[in-house]
Symmetry: C2
Subunit: 190 residues, 2 copies
């Protein structure tokens, strides 16, 4: 348990974004547990206004990767290429075998928070099971194109919902970094 | 451990919004741990663009409650009064002894997600320590008035940041409900 007061806090503190995944797929039990924890997140006025599309089809992931990369602005592309050791043929999803596309109800001011709670539940549940994760917001580039409606149809996203980002899951093939925490983020009124 | 595969998942599944708190204040160690877990949430591009104002001043909480209630639309007011057993003198914060006002950077498309991750970390850390929580979005009503700037100053919220909602913490004085989960929230592409 090291220095943490309990296992939940250990999961929270040790969950860090992973940028290299093993090819091995996660188990059905792990996936079910991750999804169930996402579905049991709180939501403002109990709207539960999220939707999760699990993608484990390598061809589709590869196509989404190519299409996303076509839309990355040049300065970001240079940064990403460097992050991937100078390789052009990197995956924005870090070759994770499972993506969960998180979609949310459009036009509700609490949607993004609700989806954030659900996403963190999924990432922490994964962490506790030995499954690593990273949120890829960049895939939004895909959903802001004329093809967005095709993805919405392909992903079977409910009416009135829009895809927000992808959460990648798999077994870590690296030791993730712990970025330093910024200071002056808390104040007290007593 | 009941039926959950581990303690983290138990914390996730058993964390439910609480609407009645004991007057007793949470300990400094609990508060520190909750804040530290919030600060260690992931954030898009590692911006950590949140800010937490801890409020444990009963007079200020009472004033915020009164001012929020003045701004609640009549149909919501009726619903809330009923939820509080028909009492007029209810607290929108359910008399929780600690509020954390979560603020986020304005104008960043990932702010609300990032604040969502941090909030869920805080609620789950609290749960694992026996501390209950509820997010009160309604306090946004306060921050959309001409007085908003005064609160921003009083709370010492950094430049470029705006208050989003309050998370209430304390010891539960009720057994929280587990609202039913909606169906058709997940689909698979394999």
């Amino acid at each position: 348990m090291s220095n943490y007061p309990n296992e939940t806090i250990k999961s929270i503190m040790e969950r860090r974004s992973v940028r290299k995944f093993k090819p091995q797929q996660i188990t059905e039990q792990e996936l079910d547990c991750i999804l169930n924890c996402g579905l049991n997140a709180p939501s403002a006025r109990n709207t539960q206004n999220w939707h999760f599309t699990v993608i484990q089809n390598a061809d589709l992931i590869s196509r989404m990767n190519e299409k996303t990369k076509e839309r990355i602005p040049p300065e970001t592309a240079a940064f990403l290429k460097e992050r991937h050791g100078g390789r052009e043929d990197y995956s924005v999803f870090y070759n994770a075998p499972t993506l969960i596309i998180v979609s949310g109800e459009a036009g509700n001011e609490y949607t993004d928070f609700n989806c954030g709670y659900a996403t963190q539940n999924m990432c922490l549940a994964a962490q506790s099971l030995g499954v690593a994760s990273i949120v890829i917001g960049m895939v939004r580039l895909l959903f802001r194109t004329p093809e967005a409606d095709e993805y919405i149809k392909e992903f079977n996203i409910p009416n009135g919902y829009r895809p927000l980002y992808a959460v990648c899951f798999g077994y870590a093939d690296m030791q993730p970094e712990t970025p330093e925490r910024l200071e002056d983020k808390v104040n007290y009124i007593r």
